[in-house]
């Protein structure tokens, strides 16, 4: 199949060497992480949807492996393998193939085998500096290969968390909205559900199948008594307790559900605020002011997160970036599986929206999923080099590139 043959391999390699020279000059060590990876780490971080777009297979020993769908997780694993302590600061760069199953059929813009060049940096405590430098270095490398008309789209999941914090809603709702944020459909349903009075609609009654006598014997202020009530209920119904999920876990969830059914709904002002934040989009400079205005007068405002936003922009400007080319969208980053904070994407005119030239961001949770005892600050960026070559050479991606 033509899409798998890199006919322009020499041109691609020459371009990649150029990118790598910029990265190494900036202090990133060149590494070549393994192509075959344990599927575990990816499945854990991204979830089962991974199987829909990754080549997962079983080796003769029964281990579940995959062809790496990106180079970020492999670089994390390489870092862990080299350093016992995952927090050891390090900067890496790489250039190599990655593999993705294309359900709609592979084409030139979406090949199932493609090449990525990129950078990762771990353990930086100065978070915004690391983020700004990662963006700056990526753009510097892209420009070195001849890219001129780029645009930079950014998002910030940390800012969303700060907004939730500021509107003061129960912690369990906050957690739920945070988790739901990554799935726009679920998020809207959840937000709507929380703003409705208990029992006012199907959404509010979602757990109507709960037995009334059990609900009546639960006590929000006495966990042990609630546990005992659940055990007694299961006994009375002759339902055997099986599996790994404990009585305590079930009790906690039951208590949360019951609390939801009786709690006053989320104030519509708070829900409005969340919705208004989610719809913020535009030039990054104005977006910051817009968010500040939105949250003006909200007690405990977004403070630190908004400061971080401003500091990052200032650092980008200090690095020589023209801020008028930086866009911000509160929704951006939602569908990118493992990012935890700042996210960005670089595209060029002529490429389809889902075909960015480069992208990256902060992913503090990945190192832990890969085996580190705790989260480790991590920022990175990856460049789709075939798309880059097609863009700078002025030809649309075509068969065989």
């Amino acid at each position: 199949m033509a899409t798998e043959i890199a006919q322009s391999f020499e041109a691609l390699e020459a371009q990649a060497q150029l990118l790598m020279s910029v990265f190494t000059k900036a202090g990133h060590e060149a590494v070549a992480p393994a192509i075959i990876q344990p599927a575990d780490v990816y499945l854990d971080v991204i979830g089962e949807s991974l199987r829909a777009r990754t080549y997962v297979f079983t080796d003769p020993d029964g281990a579940e492996l995959c062809l790496r769908p990106d180079l970020t997780v492999p670089t994390c694993r390489l870092h862990l393998w080299r350093n016992g302590a995952a927090e050891t600061p390090a900067r890496y760069c790489y250039n190599g193939p990655a593999f993705r199953f294309q359900a709609q059929g592979a084409d030139a813009a979406h090949p199932r085998e493609f090449r990525q060049a990129g950078i990762e940096r771990f353990g930086d405590v100065e978070r915004e500096r690391a983020e700004a430098e990662t963006v700056g270095l990526t753009i510097k490398a892209l420009e070195k290969t001849g890219l001129k008309n780029w645009t930079l789209q950014t998002g910030d999941l940390g800012l969303f968390r700060a907004v939730l914090n500021a509107v003061r809603i129960p912690t369990r709702w906050q957690k739920r909205l945070e988790e739901a944020f990554l799935r726009p459909g679920t998020f809207r349903t959840e937000l709507k559900r929380l703003t409705e009075a208990p029992g006012s609609s199907d959404l509010g009654l979602r757990n109507r199948s709960l037995p009334a006598d059990l609900v009546g014997s639960l006590d929000q202020t006495d966990f042990a008594a609630s546990e005992a009530a659940l055990v007694a209920y299961l006994d009375a119904q002759s339902i055997e307790l099986i599996g790994n999920r404990t009585i305590a876990e079930m009790t906690q969830h039951l208590l949360d559900v019951v609390a939801d059914q009786t709690a006053s709904p989320l104030e519509s002002a708070a829900a409005d605020l969340i919705e208004q934040y989610v719809s913020v989009t535009g030039p990054a400079l104005f977006a910051g002011q817009r968010i500040a205005a939105l949250l003006k007068g909200v007690k405990g405002g977004p403070g630190a997160a908004l400061d971080a936003y401003d500091r990052r922009l200032a650092l980008l400007a200090n690095g020589g970036l023209d801020l008028s080319r930086v866009m911000f969208s509160a929704e951006f980053g939602r569908t990118l599986a493992y990012y935890t904070g700042f996210v960005f994407e670089i595209s060029a005119p002529g490429l389809k929206a889902d075909g960015a030239i480069a992208g990256g961001g902060r992913y503090d949770g990945v190192m832990r999923a890969a085996g580190a005892p705790r989260d480790v600050p991590a920022v990175g960026a990856a460049i789709h080099t075939q798309r880059l070559l097609a863009t700078v050479s002025g030809i649309a991606p075509k068969e065989g590139l």
Partner: protein
């Protein structure tokens, strides 16, 4: 391949039921050659060649187009092809081999009745156990597609080829996706079906391959076969 190739299960209960169903439609199948032969013919339909194929392989043969039509469960068709709608056509249900593909959780999960509830307990489960809830199944594709449509993604599939319903009690999975006819086996294993957990109501189907080579002759024979099966429902 100008005659119509019809694949039927080569052994067991499914073969018997297929033969019964064909007989009811006035179709008598005779094995050709020695008694253990893998080929057969239908009396009065010289344009049909019957192939006895292991029931687990009929879906794959339809997908590859090496047979024209076959008798197989809808569950196997949907599971084995991500693009089943373009590869094959389900011509008619055959009124046997009924089985529902369902999501079942421990009956003691009083707090879980729907997929939305699963979504809510997934994160607390992960905090407590360090991993997502595991779903034991041999229907990996059906499971993934069903949960994706429901917006649920925080789980891990563990492949299970036998005794799937015992995995939650054994502690090797938290819930299962499996076939059931009466639900009795599930109940015996301390499981319950989620309120919105029926993924597919399956039965044996006459299925046509869209990628096989069809001649006018085989098409005619197929139409005749289908007409006889439908008029005897």
């Amino acid at each position: 391949m100008t005659r119509l190739t019809l694949a039927v299960p080569s052994k067991g209960r499914l073969m018997e039921q297929t033969t019964e169903r064909l007989t009811r439609a006035g179709l008598t199948v005779r094995k050709v050659g020695n008694a253990r032969g893998y080929r057969g013919e239908i009396d009065g339909m010289p344009d049909v060649e019957v192939a006895y194929v292991s029931s687990s392989e009929i879906a794959a043969a339809l997908k590859a187009g090496s047979i024209h039509v076959g008798v197989t469960g809808e569950d196997l068709v949907r599971e084995s092809m991500s693009d089943s709608a373009t590869r094959v056509t389900l011509l008619t249900g055959l009124d046997f081999g009924f089985a529902d593909v369902v999501v079942a959780v421990p009956a003691c999960w009083i707090d879980v009745a729907t997929v939305a509830d699963l979504d809510q307990i997934a994160m607390p489960f992960r905090r407590a156990h360090g991993r997502w809830p595991r779903v034991a199944t041999k229907y990996m594709n059906l499971t993934r597609k069903f949960f994706a449509e429901k917006g649920f993604g925080d789980y891990r599939i563990v492949e299970s080829v036998g005794a799937t319903e015992g995995t939650p009690a054994a502690g090797t999975a938290e819930l299962i996706v499996d076939i059931t006819t009466t639900g009795e086996t599930l109940r015996a294993n301390g499981l319950k079906i989620l309120d919105d957990g029926v993924i597919l109501r399956s039965q044996a189907n006459l299925v046509a391959s869209n990628v096989a080579e069809w001649s006018a002759q085989s098409r005619r024979a197929c139409d005749e076969l289908l007409a006889k099966l439908q008029s005897s429902r």
